[in-house]
Each structure stands twice: as C-alpha cells, then as structure tokens.
C-alpha cells in the first residue's frame, strides 16, 4: 500500500510541475472548487495522474502542504472532512467546472461511491457482447465550456500579469472528454480484458445535468442569431452542440464579453448535484452480402403484409435475415437487394446481389463462420432460397449495390403462348431484334402506387426456343435494360406497352411463367 501511495504522490508532484502553476494559484483554484483533474487538464498536464484512483482534492491539498514545507504528518488517504486545520480549504463537494464528471465519485440515487468502471464492465458482460476491442464515446453538457471560460476569466483577473499560464490554458488544455478517457481507459482495459481501439464495439457515456438546460435557455435568450435556434427545443440544442465543437478561443456561444459575464459567474457557481451519467454500449452495424436464388413462385422478396394478412408463404428477407440474426445474436436486420422480382417469378442462374444490415450483433463477425451460415440457409426445408458467396462486406457495399442497379442488364426466360402457330420466320424475326426501344406506360397493376409515366426501355436481344411437341408455346429468352416490365412487354398491357411481343409477331401473346436467369452486376461474385 505504501508503495502505491508513494507513486501517486510522485505523479501529483510531477503534474504540479508540468502545469507551471505556483502553489498559491493551485490552492486558489482548489478553494473555489475546481477538482484536481480539471486543474491539471486545463493547464495541459499529460500523464498517468488521471488514472490514479485516489486522486482527489484532499490528496492535492496534502501534497501542496507537504511541498510547501509544512511538516504536518498526514496520512496517505486523507478523507473528506478530516480534522485538518485546513478544513475550510476542502471546498464544495462537486467540481464547479466538470460538475462531477471527472470526480468519478458520486451517485446521488445510490448515495454511495459510484464506480463507473465496474458498472460499465457489468453492463458489457450483461448484454452478452463478445468483444476484441472497445472505444469510448463521451457526451457532456456544453455548458462546461462556459465554466472553463469563467475559470480563465477568474485567473486573468487575479494573476493577469503572470501570462505564462494563460498561454497554457488556450493552447494546451485538454477537454473533459479526453480527460475522462485518460482516467478510466486503463481500468476498463483490465476489467474487459481487451485494449482500446476504434473498431466495431462502442461504449457511450452521456452526461446530463438539470442546471445545464436552464443555462442553455439563458444563452438562447441572449443570442442575436438565436431566433432560428429558438425554434428547436432545449434538448435538441444540447444534443446538437458538442462541447468540442465550440472553440474556447472564439466568443463562447456567440455572445460578447458583457453578456457572458452576466450569464456565467466568475468564479463559476457551485452546484448541488453532480452530472448524471447514462451508459450505453453497442456494436456498429455488420454488413453481410451475397447473392440469392429463389426457387418458389409463392415467396415474395420482402415481407409482404396487407391488412394483417401475409401474402405468400414467407419471404427471402425473412429466411436469410432470421438465420443471420440468430447466428450473430443481434437485435434486428434490414434487407437490401439490387432490384426485386415479383412473388410469382423465380430468381435463378447467377442470383441477385443482396445485403443484410445487422444491428447490434453480440457475436464478433470476425469469429463467425459465414460458410456455415450459408450451408444452414441452403439446407432449410423446403428448398425455397439458396445463397451464394455469403460473407461480411464493408460499409461501402450499400453504395455499390445501389449504383449498379439502374445501369445493369437483366436476363429472363419466359413461357409464352401465341394465338397462332410459331413459324421459323418468327424465330428469325425475334433473333434479329437488337437494342430495340420500347415505350412502357406504367403498368396498370402498379399504377395505383406509382406515377403515371411513359418509360423508354431497351430490349437488348431476344431468342425463342421451341418446345418439343408444341406449336403455340415456346420459351422466350431475352435480355433487357434494368427496370423493364417483362410481363407487360409480352401481353402488351391493353396496348400500353408498345411495341410488344404481340405487335411484333402480329398476333396475341400471353405470358404464363417468368424466371430471372441473370442479374449482370459486378458485385458479390465470389
């Protein structure tokens, strides 16, 4: 125990030296109620001092007393309210700058010392996260900047001539957020058994204080350009302004000196309660991509429910999404695909590229066997969906998926009937069609939910394949521009798609079945 005390004392002494503040200035700051961590950070001190668990105002007092030559025998752990003649110097309970954030100490509701580190570790384990790193996000009431400015003004008033620490204040000061990170990172790393790194797992501390919102409304009232901001609620302003966004060099909050003096007391006013903290931990979205094939004519691509009744047996989205969700132990998923097909159209051949966005996965994606997940999906009975090339992809995958969609060509196979016999000339005629323009009015079957427009589309090529033993049925293979309505191209949609297969062949044409045989896109091909 003795050794720890010594180390801590040494750290404190070193920090006092780094700050460049004379002892009387330090005592002054302590007496107006600034906590040691705030003192050190505002004057640009770096080092392990922040993570000293027993760093408190009393400790700093005792080190100052000792360094000043006072030979009073003081115990290493000086408790609050100890019978020291310097009792009055202990000051208010909560730091007037950080309002308790860097004191890591007081939970009002529990009326006991609140161990931020322990409770955070408990939260992470309780949620069941499998982690290989963590990163800390901190959100503090922006009013703290106002408190910092008050301290600066106070120092300027009292020690105006000693300009050296003014420079330090501006150029070297460390934000509350960074100081908090310095304070708890090592302990958290120990408790969670992983190191800090900005990857997928984040822990967010949100500090709030009731006084902060009343100060904000004062600020809002004074702002000259405040009329715009006043429309937003207090809460929005609090969330919108990040303490790190406002530079302390500029006039804080867009107010001039006189107004600041009016709103922010110098030295900063005391508070009765510390900030309250809400801890949240989450994982950034995991993106899983691949290509899917759909073998059923009774399964939609996405969940389709009308008036509480489901259309179709199930959906591709649910088949893939539910299994992925359970293997990654996540909260929810979003399914995106490069285009879509009707419920009664099969998706065959190379498959359609898709992306599943997984929210808040508890398992680590790097520890997940996607090949296994693919097998599981493909082995589901009945065989409705097949997945290829399933793997984790980056955040940019969504953009790639979107970009390709409108440009790419799609290939189809349709079972077609015509009202007369299929002749060889017909086969030649269809094969000779290359890059043919057609105009499609919005099909009646979707006209209730889409704009009535005339869309120009292109048929790249066509090929008819005879069916053995049939004169009027045949298989039509065709390749078209993305966004072409194939069914309407075949039957003409009461003449609203022109030219259509019937008009080309000079007879009536009907489509019985449609399959997508290729989606030509450069993604998720392996």
């Amino acid at each position: 125990m003795g050794e720890e005390c010594m180390l801590e004392k040494q750290l404190v002494e070193e920090s006092i030296r780094q700050s460049g503040l004379p002892c009387h200035a330090l005592r002054d700051l302590l007496s107006i109620g600034v906590c040691p961590r705030c003192i050190f950070r505002l004057f640009g001190v770096h080092g392990d001092v922040y993570s000293c668990l027993s760093l408190s105002s009393s400790l700093l007092w005792s080190v100052l007393d000792l360094s000043n030559g006072h030979e009073e025998a003081t115990d290493c752990k000086v408790h609050e309210g100890s019978s020291s003649p310097q009792d009055l110097k202990v000051g208010p309970e909560f730091c007037v700058v950080c309002w308790g954030i860097l004191q890591l100490s007081y939970d009002e509701q529990a009326q006991q010392t609140f161990d931020l580190v322990a409770s955070t570790a408990q939260l992470v384990k309780g949620e069941g996260f499998e982690i290989d790193s963590f990163s800390l996000e901190v959100s503090v009431p922006p009013i703290i900047l106002g408190n910092e400015r008050s301290v600066w003004l106070y120092m300027k008033k009292r020690y105006g001539s000693e300009s050296r620490f003014q420079d330090k204040f501006f150029s070297g000061s460390i934000s509350v957020k960074d100081a908090l990170r310095f304070s708890i990172t090592k302990s958290l790393e120990e408790m969670l058994a992983v190191k800090v790194a900005v990857r997928s797992f984040h822990i967010r501390f949100t500090y709030t204080h009731s006084d902060a919102s009343s100060k904000i409304s004062l600020v809002q009232g004074s702002r000259t350009d405040g009329h715009k901001k006043q429309k937003r609620g207090d809460k929005e302003l609090l969330e919108g302004i990040d303490a790190s966004d406002l530079e302390i060099n500029k006039e804080s909050f867009g107010l001039d000196i006189a107004e600041q003096d009016r709103i922010f007391q110098v030295p900063p006013a005391k508070v009765n309660q510390p900030c309250k903290v809400t801890t949240l931990c989450y994982r950034t979205p995991v993106y899983v991509g691949g290509r899917y094939l759909k073998y059923s004519r009774n399964v939609s691509q996405t969940r389709w429910i009308i008036d509480e009744e489901r259309m179709g047996e199930t959906s591709v989205e649910e088949i893939i999404g539910n299994l992925t969700l359970s293997i990654l132990k996540a909260d929810s998923y979003k399914f995106h695909a490069a285009g879509r097909e009707d419920i009664d159209v099969r998706m065959l051949g190379s498959g359609r590229p898709f992306l599943v966005e997984i929210a808040n996965a508890r398992s680590l994606s790097s520890h997940t066997e996607f090949a296994e997940l693919q097998e599981k999906i493909n082995n589901l009975e009945p065989r409705i969906v097949r997945v290829k090339n399933l793997k984790e992809v980056g955040v940019d995958a969504w953009t790639i998926l979107q970009q390709g969609e409108a440009e790419k060509q799609k290939q189809y196979a349709a079972l077609v009937w015509i009202s007369r016999s299929l002749e060889d000339e017909d086969l030649k005629c269809m094969s000779s069609i290359k890059e043919m323009d057609i105009i499609q009015r919005t099909p009646i079957r979707v006209l209730h939910r889409r704009s009535p427009l005339e869309r120009k589309r292109m048929i790249h090529w066509m090929r008819a394949e005879r069916i053995h033993g049939s004169k009027q049925f045949f298989i039509l293979h065709l390749c078209t521009q993305a966004g072409t309505y194939i069914k309407e191209f075949v039957h003409g949609d009461l003449g609203r798609t022109h030219p259509n297969l019937g008009s080309i062949l000079g007879c009536r044409a009907e489509i019985l079945q449609l399959d997508v045989t290729d989606v030509k896109m450069d993604c998720f091909n392996s």
Binding site: L293, Y295, R297, N298, D344, R346, L348, G349, S350, N378, P382, R383, R386, A413, L415, W417, S419, R441, I444, R445, V446, L447, H448, R449, R450, S451, P452, I467, G469, S470, Q472, F473, I475, K487, H491, D493, L494, G495, R508, E510, I511, L512, Q513, L514, D515, T517
Partner: protein, 199 residues
C-alpha cells in the same frame, strides 16, 4: 399468369449452375395443355358488364383490377360494333376534352372525379353517334388516346379499353345492373329473337 400445378423439382446443391438452370427452365407439361390459356386480362381483372346503360344497345364493360383500378370499355355486344363498326372516336365531350387530362404523381393529381353518367367519349359508327359513359363513380386517370388515330382498334381488339379509372368506393356487389358476359350475350340473343318474332 398461372400457378404451377406441380411444384418444381427440388434443386440439388451439387449440380453445376448451368445444368441446374437448364433443368429448372424445362416447362411443366401441365401448363402446355390449355390452349388458349387464360389471358392476362382474364386472370387479373374481374369482368363486369352493363347492358343498355342509359340507352338501349349501349353495353359496356368494367374490368376491375385487384388494386382498385378499373378499365372501362365497349362490350362486344355494343350497338356501335355491329354494322361496319366504329369509324371515329372523339374525346371532346362538350365541357372538356378528356384526352387533354394530365395526371401526375403517385397521388394522381388533377384526376377528374366523374359520375357514372358522365360522358367519356363520342363514338361514331356509320351514321350514328354513341356516347360512352363512365358507368362508375371514380377519378379518371387516363384515356386511350390511340383511339383518336386508330378508332378501328375498337372493332378488332375487344379488350382495348377506353379509359382507366380509380374507383371511389367499392360497392359494386349490390349493383343489380352489373352482370357477366355470358348473361349479356344471352339477353342480347334473346332480345333479337323477340324482335324478329314481333315483326
């Protein structure tokens, strides 16, 4: 489109994708039996017919899609379709020219709300002028303006349709005027028989 009567053969995972594709594309023989197969208009719309709408011989149809949109047209038994057929179609019905409507957007802005008795267009056949009416209450989305240049389409393509409507309320079940095509044809046949008996 028809449903497959037999579920397609289960795909096996070991197959080469090209081979699998060819196998899956083989048509189900059950689908090839019915010739002609039900048409897109037959399968996707419910067909209603009205005989003698406001005037004798003015038979029209209403094809209603599952999404509520209706296509209005002249029934095959319409008086204008006999004796040589339709020669001209004019969408200018006095107050406005129905072919000038411009409906835009998902919400179908500018769609005119019309009553069953509102006129859709004037149909000229030999020496007579027939007026095609809306038959239902709804907003007019689109007219078939190909009929202006090619009025003969009404003679050749029975389903070509005159206009597309969005129905306002769905209370067609109680409408005693609506009937099926077979009934329409049969009562037409009956009436021509009666006329010949009288003379």
């Amino acid at each position: 489109m028809t449903d497959a009567a037999v579920p397609p053969p289960s795909p096996t995972l070991e197959e080469d994708s090209e081979v699998e594709l060819r196998r899956l594309l083989l048509p189900d023989p059950n689908l090839l039996i019915l010739s002609p197969p039900p048409s897109a208009v037959d399968s996707n719309y419910v067909h209603y017919f009205i005989a003698d709408f406001l005037k004798p011989g003015h038979d029209q149809y209403i094809y209603r899609h599952a999404n509520g949109l209706c296509v209005i047209g002249l029934a095959p038994t319409h008086a204008s379709l006999s004796e040589g057929g339709v020669t001209s179609v004019d969408f200018n019905v006095g107050k406005s020219d129905r072919s000038e409507i411009k409906v835009t957007g998902k919400r179908k802005k500018n769609a005119q709300l019309l009553e069953p008795n509102s006129a859709l267009c004037k149909v000229y056949a030999s020496d007579n002028i027939y007026i095609a009416r809306c038959c239902i209450k709804g907003s007019l989305l689109e007219v078939n303006n190909r009929l202006i240049k090619e009025p003969g389409l009404l003679n050749s393509s029975p389903n070509i349709g005159i206009s597309k409507f969005r129905r306002v309320n769905v209370q067609h079940k109680g409408d005693w005027r609506l009937c099926e095509l077979e009934f329409l044809i049969s009562i037409r046949a009956l009436s021509s028989v009666l006329i010949s008996n009288l003379s």
